[in-house]
Subunit: 203 residues, 2 copies
């Protein structure tokens, strides 16, 4: 099967939970545990974004309810440093940098330094829990990369450590053109996808 | 201006050369020389892909002539290695790995090892020159990540060394749903964009 076909959604799928189960199965086949996180997250954002475009019952390509952005921001130290011009390592836990995504151009970084963190992505990362925003205009400190976004969901990516603590790696962020675009079924589906990413990617 | 608006295309732009000049100007403002290549190439693929969707005279969102994939494959050694589970470094110049892109899910890697290289991306990388394919079905060894792709253009990313030689870093790859989707104006525009990326990104 050509890789592109993994984002097709069978017509009989008509609930959000069945949709996310389908996407999860497709993602399991698409991810490659031997590859770096850039390649795996590039395909993940593409699969989730294009599957949502192919699910018109709730999202689809309709300009009034489409998911218009789906991608990743990751903690600065995980990014590659230059091989040709060595630069000082980025300070840990101060900035999330733009990772692979589908959608229109986006903010290059998000400040998560103590006292300076603001916005949905920063809050999900700092507090290590999913933030589901029904109306971005009503969210304190919302950062508008795209003025047409109406609602948002951000799921943190947390590595479990041997001592029982977690280390936040970054976030999976989705924006929707509709108010109340996402609900608890989307949250459950996306959190399961992040568990799969955590299991597969070598961070 | 919200970052997303950088992919708007003014209505008065009606030639391909004016279009690529506009995209180049937007990209100059969007790229951040202090950032890693993952963040910069993620925004680049998004800007080019969404600008093409907003240029209906030649491409646009029309299913018969849209650009359906725009992104990067890069030489394996440039990708980040795991911080938690050290893995042996990838052998140089053997594989191009999937980088940031917009479009449906894609092949994770492309073999460029001597005797095993095949397809448009591998040829552009190995021979260090742009390959413009009017009809992918007629191209020997074409790799079909998406069966609906009809034409393709691949521009190599080459670093200039102090001794006058070049080092290939990867390729910028675009697919189109129409036969003869790309021409010499697109080639000139994309090659200029790659020069800008080379100047801005720390590889």
């Amino acid at each position: 099967m050509p890789h592109a076909d993994s984002s097709l959604v069978p017509e009989e799928i008509d609930t959000k939970s069945a949709f996310w189960e389908h996407v999860h199965t497709q993602l399991e086949a698409l991810l490659d545990p031997d590859l770096n996180w850039v390649s795996n997250l590039s395909n993940t954002s593409s699969l989730v974004y294009h599957s949502l475009l192919a699910f018109p019952k709730f999202f689809g390509p309709d300009d009034s309810k489409a998911v218009n952005w789906c991608g990743f921001y990751l903690n600065a130290p995980y990014f590659p440093t230059s091989k040709s011009t060595p630069t000082p390592a980025a300070p840990a836990h101060q900035k999330l940098l733009l990772g692979p995504f589908c959608g229109k151009p986006a903010c290059q970084f998000i400040n998560v330094a103590p006292g300076k963190a603001r916005g949905v992505c920063a809050d999900a990362f700092v507090h290590r829990q999913t933030v589901l925003v029904k109306d971005v205009e009503a969210y304190p400190g919302h950062i508008a990369c795209d003025g047409s976004t109406k609602s948002e969901i951000v799921v943190p990516i947390l590595i479990s450590n041997a001592d029982g603590t977690t280390t936040p790696v970054g976030v999976l962020d989705l924006d929707c053109l509709a108010l109340n675009g996402f609900d608890e079924d989307d949250q459950a589906g996306l959190e399961k996808i992040v568990v799969l990413l955590n299991k597969t990617c070598k961070w």
